[in-house]
């Protein structure tokens, strides 16, 4: 048999496979289309409004935390959707950062040679990951934040802040026009630092001489904006919050609902991230460290150049999973009145419009999109740190 003849059936098989896949896609699409059509008919028969016309109707309800301008009297349901989505993204983004930092600290602490530190860290992990997240959210909200002093007995923080069970109120920075110069100077400082580092690396590669860049770099990043700040005549003021009859007026407000959700999500996810980090570090073969030491690398350099890069390859995939969990868990906000996407959109909007099918479909699609976006970002990072085989 010739090569050509041997290859022919394989090609047919491959073509058959493609045909099956195309058929499957068509079938799924037809099923989805049929489902939508059927749902529309059922809704019409039951006299339930359907379609997305509600999107531009006036919402009429208030939302306690809005990152974009929103008013009950003029804003639409669509606007309320964006307000809820941004609140979800805010708590998820800050939560991911905090959980990552805390998780790495705890994970490394579990491997510490210090008995007390290691035990504390493992106690933290065991305690936190074995208590349901919803209970933890309720604990932080009701037991911790609601037991802060009431409005009348507010704690005055140094610098003009106010803390009570209605939230944390910080001085709100008011930027004068000249502040743009300061931001420009800060950006310039960062660019200059990157250039300096690139130059130092190149010099080390060429001559082997190490250049100490820490202090000049710090000077560039901090000094430049500070100098610009002074030269433009300190273009920054603060709006200090003050106690009104009922509430604190002015200032930057951190709602207790937001704080409780953020703390609970970060603390909970950090316990899982700590385990991921510990597993990642333990996965680096002992021989790698010994080899680095044999080459004369110091402990810090060993960690930075040998252990961490290899550990990251093990850490990133499960870490992505934890990030996705955190994003999805943020929908537990409904339990404590934090106006996230589920609370605002799948709560108030759904109830006022009564259009459960559309609202739930949009909400699910949004969570799917956020999760897919996050995991594709993490995959990009994972690919960048992959072993390059030479």
């Amino acid at each position: 048999m010739t090569d050509e003849a041997r290859r022919a059936p394989r090609r047919t098989r491959r073509l058959g496979g493609v045909a099956i896949q195309i058929g499957l896609v068509v079938l799924v699409a037809a099923l989805a289309y049929g489902a939508i059509l059927n749902a529309a008919q059922n809704l019409a028969r039951a006299h339930i409004a359907s379609g997305f016309g509600f999107w531009n109707n006036t919402a009429g309800f208030d939302i306690s935390q809005t990152l974009i301008s929103y008013s009950a009297s003029t804003s639409t349901f669509g606007r309320a959707f964006w307000v809820g989505l941004l609140n979800t993204l805010l708590v998820a983004a800050i939560g991911i950062v905090l959980a990552t930092v805390l998780g790495f600290i705890v994970g490394i602490a579990r491997l510490s040679h210090n008995w007390l530190v290691a035990r504390l860290a493992s106690g933290y992990v065991e305690l936190i990951r074995n208590v349901p997240l919803l209970l933890q959210i309720l604990f932080w909200y009701h037991a911790v934040l609601q037991s802060l002093p009431k409005l009348r007995d507010s704690i005055a923080l140094p610098g003009g802040g106010i803390l009570n069970n209605r939230g944390l109120f910080l001085p709100r920075p008011l930027f004068a026009p000249g502040f743009a110069v300061v931001i420009g100077a800060a950006l310039l400082g960062i660019v200059a630092m990157l250039l300096l580092r690139w130059w130092a690396r190149r010099r080390q590669a060429q001559t082997g001489a190490q250049v100490r860049v820490l202090w000049p770099a710090l000077g560039l990043v901090c000094g430049l904006p500070l100098a610009a700040f002074a030269l433009t005549g300190f273009p920054l003021g603060f709006e200090i919050p003050d106690l009104g009859r009922f509430n604190v007026r002015g200032g930057l407000e951190v709602l207790p609902e937001f704080a409780a959700l953020l703390i609970a999500l970060s603390v909970y996810t950090a316990a899982f991230i700590a385990e991921v980090v510990r597993a990642g570090i333990l996965a680096v073969p002992r021989g790698q460290v010994e080899a680095a030491q044999a080459l004369g690398l110091r402990a810090r350099s060993t960690l930075r150049l040998v252990v961490v890069p290899q550990a990251m390859r093990v850490i990133v995939p499960p870490l992505t999973g934890q990030y996705l969990n955190l994003i999805k868990n943020s929908s537990l906000a409904v339990a404590i009145a934090y106006p996230d996407l589920v609370q605002v959109f799948a709560g108030s909007v759904l109830n006022i419009t009564g259009q459960a099918v559309e609202v739930i479909a949009i909400t699910m699609a949004v969570y799917l999109a956020i999760s897919l976006f996050t995991s594709s970002l993490m995959n990009l990072y994972g690919r960048a740190t992959m072993v390059v085989e030479r």
Binding site: R45, A46, A49, F61, A72, N247, A346
Partner: protein, 338 residues
């Protein structure tokens, strides 16, 4: 979360099932052997199970009256506790036969939710509760106050309207359930708690020190509370609607739980028609001719149900007010049995 699951299950039914046109509610109830009633599980005076699991309340007794009319047995009933958020989905999806859960009748709910409101069983209006220590005597002094409110209610919408109309600042804190909102109010998260004024009296009893709290005099909205049924089953709508009218008419004609047996021998033609001694009115509804007798015998007339659950016979001590009979200056008015 539970509501999300209900909504998703409902979406699946909508997508892949053929929804029955909801024509046979009464037959379905008879076949099942019990009425399924969507009620408020947390509101004293209106719908609240006691520790033994016995449901009590004004809205609960209304459902019992329907069960009594159908089965001659008010215990052939199952109550499903619903939050304000899940109530409409539960009715739309067929999880409950009737929604009797202090629900305000509005135009948009009537037209776009696929349901019909039967009759106004309670004329209510939205009010505010504050701590006495705040020294507030009117809702108009609440500028910049933090307000705890339950989500998915007309309350949530009226609140924004009222504060805007009076040029007052407002900080809304919106909770999924009334209990959570009340708890937050009690812990000091908000200055005031708002809901229908009937609800305020009921909720106040749940606070640690009810006497420390005051219901402000302003009523800022019209809240006609009505049981709701699915759109498209006129027979069932008629039964629910006339259950209310029968209880109101019984009060007007002086027929009560105590005297209903002797009233069946009454000479008054309207009483005779109502109690089934004359005519075929019950059978026309798909029930038996003694259906009103059953309601009054087992549950009582409108006034009895009112006083027992929310009026002078209850801890709430709400006066009849708008809910008095039309002959006594109120709005409760039942069309004639004829």
């Amino acid at each position: 979360m539970k509501r999300l699951a209900t909504a998703m299950a409902y979406a699946i039914v909508l997508a892949f099932g053929t929804q029955a046109a909801w024509a046979q509610t009464l037959n379905a109830i008879k076949d099942r052997g019990q009425l399924i009633c969507g009620a408020n599980g947390t509101l004293a005076g209106f719908g609240l199970p006691d520790p033994q699991g016995n449901w009590t309340g004004f809205d609960v007794d209304f459902c019992r009256a329907i069960a009594a009319a159908i089965f001659n047995d008010p215990s052939k009933i199952k109550f499903v506790p619903l939050t304000a958020k899940d109530r409409f989905t539960a009715l739309q999806s067929g999880e409950v036969d009737v929604l009797s859960r202090n629900t305000t009748w509005t135009l948009s709910r009537d037209t776009s939710l696929g349901l019909d409101f039967a009759a106004v069983t309670y004329y209510d209006g939205q009010g505010f509760m504050v701590r006495k220590s705040l020294k507030v005597t009117s809702a108009l002094e609440l500028n910049d106050a933090a307000v705890c409110v339950q989500q998915g209610t007309t309350t949530e919408l009226n609140l924004a309207d009222y504060f805007r109309a009076n040029h007052m600042g407002l900080k809304t804190v919106t909770f999924a359930t009334g209990d959570e909102a009340l708890k937050a109010y009690e812990s000091g998260r908000c200055d005031t708690y708002t809901t229908d004024s009937s609800g305020l009296y009921g909720e106040r009893l749940k606070l640690a020190e009810p006497a420390e709290h005051l219901v402000l005099p302003e009523i800022i909205s019209k809240e006609p509370l009505s049981p709701a049924v699915r759109h498209g089953d006129s027979q069932w709508t008629d039964i629910v609607r006339w259950t209310h009218f029968a209880m109101v008419d019984a009060e007007e004609l002086g027929v009560s739980k105590a005297n209903v047996d002797e009233k069946t021998k009454s000479d008054d033609p309207e009483t005779r028609r109502m109690l089934g001694a004359e005519g075929q009115y019950g059978e026309a509804l798909g029930l038996t001719n003694d259906w009103v007798y059953r309601i009054i015998k087992h549950v009582g007339n409108y006034g009895e149900v009112f006083e027992r659950n929310v009026g002078q016979g209850s801890p709430l001590k709400i006066v009849r007010g708008l809910n008095a009979l039309w002959t006594k200056g109120g709005l409760q008015y039942g069309p004639p049995f004829r």
